[in-house]
């Protein structure tokens, strides 16, 4: 479990992270979400004691990173996959990291196999593709078989196969009981990967909870209603305290009562319903709503800001296709 409490980090007069407190539970993937510039990377660097926070502390399973004698056994991190020496081979890179924490040598080939880099282990990293860099970064993070894993935008720049692979891998790691924190500015990606969300904007916490709670709370739900007697229905609903948003095609969105309540109300007045469907804001809408005051660089579109498009179906992106290609899911049992 990760506990961050009261974390504050200033760069000169700019406060990058402001009194940030959250916890990350083990056994699931937690998304660390925020717009670009929200302070995600700074927070992660402070957590790893790479940056000195002005206030606050981060503990991993109760202890600060520097209190562990072999930190890699507790925390694995992938901040920047390109942070490797290009003329070193993948295996030698891992050898140096393993030696510093006195990790068993056998573990090097183990993690290389786990991420599918065994065949290029002796090759210079400089010739690696971005996807291979990410795999090597993951191998480095897993070297100490740690309880906690921190990933900073691991999907950045990857092709869809690579994104799927890394997502599957993170979920696999969490299923082994590890604590997995993944930062991203892409909500749709996090919805597929994470169970919990820590959302920040401008360095401050916006919300913490499950993905579902975040969507419910931040953007809410409404009911889409069609009726041949829509005018009567709308006034009836308004009398009962509901908010009604009419559509051009004659249907209405009702905010307030749930579908059952609307149905009963309509039945009580003998009004005919043709459609009665609960709707939910998309993750993107929820995210934009939650962070709209916290975007570092606000874009001011002249004129009206468009409301969430009505009738957009509840958007949780489609589930990933099953693996089995070259980016196949990790072999079971390898990392424990």
């Amino acid at each position: 479990m990760i506990q961050v409490s009261g974390l504050t980090k200033r760069f000169g007069s700019v406060t990058a992270v402001r009194d940030l407190t959250f916890t990350v539970e083990s056994g699931q993937v937690t998304g660390f979400l925020g717009p670009n510039g929200a302070g995600k990377s700074t927070t992660m660097r402070c957590m790893l004691e790479l940056d000195r926070p002005d206030a606050g502390v981060c503990t991993f399973d109760g202890k600060k990173l520097s209190q562990y004698r072999q930190p890699l056994r507790e925390v694995g991190m992938l901040l920047d996959a390109k942070a490797v020496h290009p003329t070193r081979s993948a295996r030698n890179h891992l050898r140096a990291v393993a030696a510093a924490n006195r990790l068993p040598k056998a573990r090097i080939d183990e993690v290389l196999g786990l991420v599918g880099l065994s065949e290029v282990a002796g090759k210079r990293i400089g010739g690696f593709s971005l996807g291979m860099h990410q795999r090597l970064g993951l191998a480095t993070a897993l070297l100490g078989d740690p309880h906690t894993l921190l990933f900073d935008e691991p999907a950045n720049g990857l092709d869809p196969e690579g994104i799927l692979w890394i997502r599957t891998f993170m979920q696999y790691l969490a299923s082994q009981g590890r604590t997995v924190l993944v930062s991203s500015h892409l909500l749709a990606e996090m919805a597929l990967t994470a169970t919990d969300l820590v959302v920040i904007g401008r360095g401050a916490l916006i919300s913490q909870g499950t993905v579902q709670e975040f969507v419910d709370h931040a953007a809410g739900t409404w009911v889409h209603v069609r009726s041949p007697q829509v005018t009567q229905l709308a006034s009836l609903l308004t009398q009962h305290g509901a908010t009604v948003r009419p559509h051009a095609d004659g249907s209405i969105d009702v905010v307030g009562p749930d579908a059952a309540a609307i149905g009963e109300l309509a039945a009580g007045s003998a009004l005919v319903l043709h459609e009665l469907s609960p709707r939910q804001a998309s993750l993107e809408e929820a995210f934009l709503e939650a962070t709209k005051d916290a975007q570092e660089y606000q874009t001011h579109v002249p004129g009206e800001v468009p409301a969430p498009p009505p009738g957009v179906p509840s958007i949780v992106p489609p589930p990933p296709p099953p693996g089995g290609d070259s980016w196949g899911p990790p072999a079971a049992g390898g990392a424990s």
């Binding site: 790893l48 004691e49 000195r52 890699l72 925390v75 020496h85 140096a96 030696a99």
Partner: protein, 265 residues
């Protein structure tokens, strides 16, 4: 070895990691190869090509000095490697992995210091041995006396090794302060070879030549200097100068260590 003993992570493990890092990068290996060539080739060429007549006019100590010209010149490359031991990590971003592996940064710096000191000592001792040994073989065969025990020759031999260690420590200290590879390398090369010479020239013009003895590299180099027949007002005695030079190295390393802990990585 029991599990309890295996768990600890010591500075010796960090040193082992540093050696792996040095050995597994192409640039450092090329530079070490250059060190060998630059050390040995001049010594052999001089011993072979300089006329016997000219050689016989030199003092026995100077013959050892000639044999070590290449070694002393190639020390700059060892100091550059020492600088890259930390500046290279900042350049490629691997310093973050290193600092997560060992968040106590003083230990990281200590491991790097031990690493570059041992590297400098071993490389320099080998080069001194090989260059002087080959020179002796060649000169002996040409009938020119070459003695390791000539007056002052002993200090010249081990002093060369000691100076290389000091230079490497300065390289590491400079790079720890600057964190930038290009700037560190430039300074490591330019400080002893150009800056101190320019300052010496300025001091001469000002009629204060003796000030030059306070320059760190000038002082450190006294460990290999020929002190016979020179006054000690203009410069330090060998060990005094060398000890004084290390005060600079320790001060810069201390400042570097303090900044390393304070700065964001």
């Amino acid at each position: 070895m029991g599990p309890a003993r295996r768990r600890g992570c010591l500075v010796i493990d960090l040193i082992r990691a540093e050696y792996i890092k040095i050995r597994t990068v192409r640039s450092t290996m090329i530079m070490l190869l250059l060190v060998v060539l630059l050390s040995v080739v001049p010594a052999v060429l001089i011993a072979l090509l300089v006329s016997k007549q000219n050689l016989l006019t030199t003092e026995p100590r100077d013959r050892v000095q000639i044999a070590l010209i290449g070694v002393q010149f190639s020390q700059v490359l060892v100091a550059v490697i020492a600088a890259l031991v930390i500046a290279g990590e900042f350049r490629f971003g691997t310093i973050r992995t290193t600092f997560v592996t060992e968040p106590r940064r003083l230990r990281v710096l200590a491991a790097k210091l031990v690493t570059v000191l041992v590297l400098a000592a071993v490389v320099s001792a080998l080069m001194v041995g090989i260059s002087a040994g080959l020179t002796k073989l060649i000169l002996d065969s040409r009938g020119v006396d070459f003695s390791f025990t000539a007056f002052g020759a002993g200090r010249l031999l081990y002093g060369t090794v000691l100076y290389s260690m000091f230079y490497a420590a300065m390289g590491l200290a400079i790079a720890t302060l600057l964190r930038n590879a290009a700037a560190s390398i430039t300074l490591v090369i330019v400080l002893p070879l150009i800056v101190e010479n320019v300052l010496f020239g300025i001091f001469s013009v000002l009629d204060h030549e003796s000030w030059a003895k306070w320059l760190p590299f000038t002082a450190g180099a006294q460990i290999t200097a020929d002190t016979s027949g020179s006054s000690l007002t203009e410069r330090f005695a060998p060990w005094t100068g060398y000890g004084y030079a290390w005060l600079w190295a320790v001060a810069l390393l201390g400042l570097g260590a303090w900044l390393l802990q304070r700065r964001d990585a």
